[in-house]
């Protein structure tokens, strides 16, 4: 059985150039819409820690270290990390993966551009 998802138009693509993100309302949800190097991503604007407004934070890269970097401290994921303004918990925007808590991955939403408008599927 195919899942029927509602599509919401949440703004003009021209207003969201690469490197920017914004908070929109879609149905009864608040989402963050991110333009990372021309690709759009959407996450809930709700931090699973203490319910802070996650997407009101700023995006940046972050520091990683481990076997993937040869145990060398590395600045990585430039532009792909959102940091919750309340307590600093970090999330990888394209996947929704929480950087500190491996068991937490946020729901991500399909987002596309239709006739110049950003459309998100809930």
């Amino acid at each position: 059985m195919a899942e029927v998802r509602q599509r919401h138009r949440v703004g003009l693509a021209a207003d969201l150039p690469p490197g920017r993100h914004t908070i929109v309302r879609a149905g009864n949800r608040e989402l963050g819409i991110f333009n990372i190097a021309g690709t759009l991503h959407a996450l809930p604007n709700l931090c699973p820690h203490q319910r802070g407004p996650l997407c009101a934070g700023s995006t940046s890269g972050t520091l990683v270290d481990g076997d993937t970097t040869g145990w060398k401290l590395t600045w990585s994921h430039e532009g792909e990390i959102i940091t919750c303004p309340w307590h600093g918990l970090e999330f990888h925007v394209p996947t929704g993966q929480c950087m500190a808590w491996p068991e937490i991955r946020l729901r991500t939403y399909d987002v596309s551009v239709v006739d110049g408008e950003i459309e998100v599927a809930l």
């Binding site: 934070g57 995006t59 940046s60 303004p85 309340w86 307590h87 600093g88």
Partner: protein, 376 residues
């Protein structure tokens, strides 16, 4: 104590009395200059021109560390500079009454010139009463004690103790030497007893050559911050008990702020074990150390967040925290706790009400507003 819920409705944070036992105002040096005695007003006006790092104003809040400013990270303001802004922000958190502590003066014990330290403390207390407590009755204040000059500080505490907004004496602990068990602080205990004000010890992270702040052996603020607060509380609690301060001043209510609560059962059990062997050294203790530790009050923030949420309730049970823990948000600082988080923990309804409001009301001597008191 029963507190009225909305008629027929279920209890929510909005129907619960929330007393926030620890929020932080920001004390700009230029404003303190207006209240400072000469010649320190001149110095404070100079400090006001300097662009200090957050909580590291030259002279006023010395901090022997500097972190690399990587891009990104928490992007919200962590200072509140006036009573109206504080009231509005606390409304958003559903906080009814809050107790104000300073920002920069968290580091008062690290100020090396005791004359300047005393001038800062006096200016702060006068400024706090006039600019904050007189402006907004739901904001209550802790008078800062100056550990470098206890005698004069006690006089200053007496001067302001009668202000209706004053509810506590704040003992800064960051970089403190000697610890609060030392005899030199007796004038402050005398003032606390005479004024009936409780005392609250509050520390902050710093690297400083005074026990237990020699944190230079750690490389990250994760390590330093994790240890600075609870080690400071543990050090001062042990110091007070070993020299018998709470026994000699039995009317004082003692509070320990901003170190979470997990350390409390650990030190209580540890001291009880020591006591059975070494009672002769501390014959002023008539009971096990844990007996006295259960009479102290403890700010909840930063409340531990074990993966199994219910575990935090067990931690509170281990030190009688459902009767002595005082909700604190630490707003607007980096690791503040939202009262909704504490409201949602699996405490019993009575314990939840006590932790969010009743215990703080007893500790600070603050009346619970009529709308939250159950009809008889």
């Amino acid at each position: 104590m029963a507190i009225a819920a909305e008629k027929g409705g279920r209890e929510t944070l909005a129907t619960t009395f929330v007393l926030d036992g620890d929020v932080h105002l920001n004390e700009p040096p230029g404003e303190l200059a207006e209240y400072a005695e000469a010649p320190w007003d001149v110095g404070l006006r100079e400090i006001a021109k300097a662009s200090g790092l957050y909580l590291a104003l030259p002279g006023m809040a010395p901090r022997a560390e500097y972190r690399v400013p990587w891009p990104g990270g928490q992007n919200r303001s962590q200072v509140v500079t006036n009573a109206a802004d504080m009231r509005r922000e606390l409304d958003e958190l559903h906080v009814d009454v809050a107790v104000l502590y300073p920002d920069n003066l968290l580091m008062l014990p690290m100020v090396r010139d005791p004359r300047f330290a005393l001038a800062l403390a006096r200016a702060y207390n006068a400024w706090l009463c006039e600019r904050w407590l007189s402006a907004e009755p739901t904001l209550r204040g802790a008078l800062v004690a100056c550990p470098q000059r206890p005698e004069e500080s006690a006089e200053d505490i007496r001067r302001h103790a009668g202000h209706p907004g004053v509810c506590c004496i704040y003992l800064p602990a960051c970089g403190l030497k000697p610890l609060y068990g030392h005899r030199q602080y007796e004038p402050i205990w005398k003032a606390a007893t005479e004024t009936g004000l409780p005392v609250a010890i509050h520390s902050v992270e710093a690297v400083f050559p005074a026990f237990p702040f020699q944190l230079e052996c750690f490389e990250t603020s994760l390590a330093q911050h994790a240890l600075a607060h609870p080690l400071s509380m543990i050090a001062n609690l042990v110091s007070l008990l070993e020299t018998g301060v709470p026994m000699r001043w039995p009317e004082i209510r003692w509070g320990f702020m901003e170190a979470g609560v997990g350390w409390v059962p650990w030190i209580a059990n540890r001291l009880d074990k020591e006591y059975l062997e070494r009672r002769r050294e501390v014959p002023h203790l008539k009971e096990r150390p844990s007996h006295y530790i259960r009479q102290f009050f403890y700010g909840t923030q930063p409340i531990e967040e074990p993966l199994a949420r219910g575990d935090i309730v067990k931690v509170f049970e281990l030190f009688d925290g459902e009767r002595t823990a005082v909700f604190a948000s630490d707003w607007p600082h980096h690791d503040f706790d939202h009262p909704q988080h504490v409201f949602g923990l699996p405490f019993s309804p009575d314990a939840r009400r006590a932790i969010l409001g009743g215990n703080g009301a007893r500790f600070y001597g603050i009346e619970i507003p009529a709308k939250y008191r159950a009809a008889a």
